[in-house]
Amino acid sequence: MKKKYEPHEPEEEVLTAVDSFQDAEQSEARWLAFEKDERLRRLLVELPEPAFSKLEKLALQRRKTVSHLVEEVITGLVDVFVLPEEKA
């Protein structure tokens, strides 16, 4: 016989189909970002410690992912060093 489980808070309103599709899409995007972060992490993990853990700590403090932080740093470097040279 199939095991039955009592429902959880059956009196409470639960989400709609629209919410559910939105959940699925946003979740997919979150996990894609997670995977992207992981790929970068695997690359950066080759950095001698504590370089990587410092980056990770900084990202956590700023509530950002490591990849976003690295993107910002690289964009900043390009702005400071590459673009002025091109203009000159």
Partner: protein
């Protein structure tokens, strides 16, 4: 050295009960390596008749229980429970009945904890969580993801949600039909 971070989520009681009701617990490890839950949920699982199933998942290391809340976190969770209980959508106005989801939200708010999303179905608690920028997904959303990744088919999603509904979970016929027809079309 393992260079891969585990895929971690936090769950409220509802989605795990739905996964058990619909015999879909096998889908969750496709998306998550670990699901963390606050200790307050354990009593709820026992009440729902899921004590043994949850105990097996704990033994397997798939579920991780937290009871390591600081006094500040406990205070914050109590405040969240009051907020859920007084939410316009909530029917249950007793804050203590919302403690489990409040502690789950607290886990998500820990700055040193790398959970990516909170599994939660109840609208009021979802609203309180999203106001705090906590990322959420309900059990139907997990089934939709599983269907889109061809882990299961639209009929499996229909059967799972219908079975949850048969066992008393509050998924409406409208929700089930809309999800099924949308998945069938795509």
């Amino acid at each position: 050295m393992n260079h891969t971070s585990p895929r971690v989520a936090v769950s409220n009681t509802g989605p795990l009960i739905s996964a058990l009701q619909s015999n879909c617990m096998h889908i969750l490890p496709q998306f998550y390596d670990q699901i963390h839950i606050p200790a307050d949920e354990i009593i709820e699982y026992q009440k729902h008749g899921a004590g043994q199933a949850i105990s097996d998942l704990l033994d397997a290391g798939f579920l991780v229980v937290h009871q390591d809340f600081t006094p500040d976190e406990i205070d914050a969770a109590l405040a969240i429970a009051v907020e859920i209980a007084s939410h316009r959508i909530t029917r249950d106005r007793t804050p203590s009945h919302h403690l489990a989801e409040s502690f789950a939200i607290m886990l998500m708010l820990r700055s040193n904890f790398r959970a990516v999303e909170l599994l939660i179905d109840e609208l009021a608690a979802r609203d309180v969580a999203t106001q705090r920028k906590v990322s959420v997904i309900g059990f139907p959303g997990i089934l939709i993801r599983a269907c889109r990744q061809r882990i299961i088919g639209p009929d499996d999603v229909l059967n799972a949600l219908t079975e949850c509904q048969r066992q008393g979970t509050h998924y409406s016929p409208k929700l089930i039909n809309e999800i099924y027809s949308n998945l069938k079309r795509s």
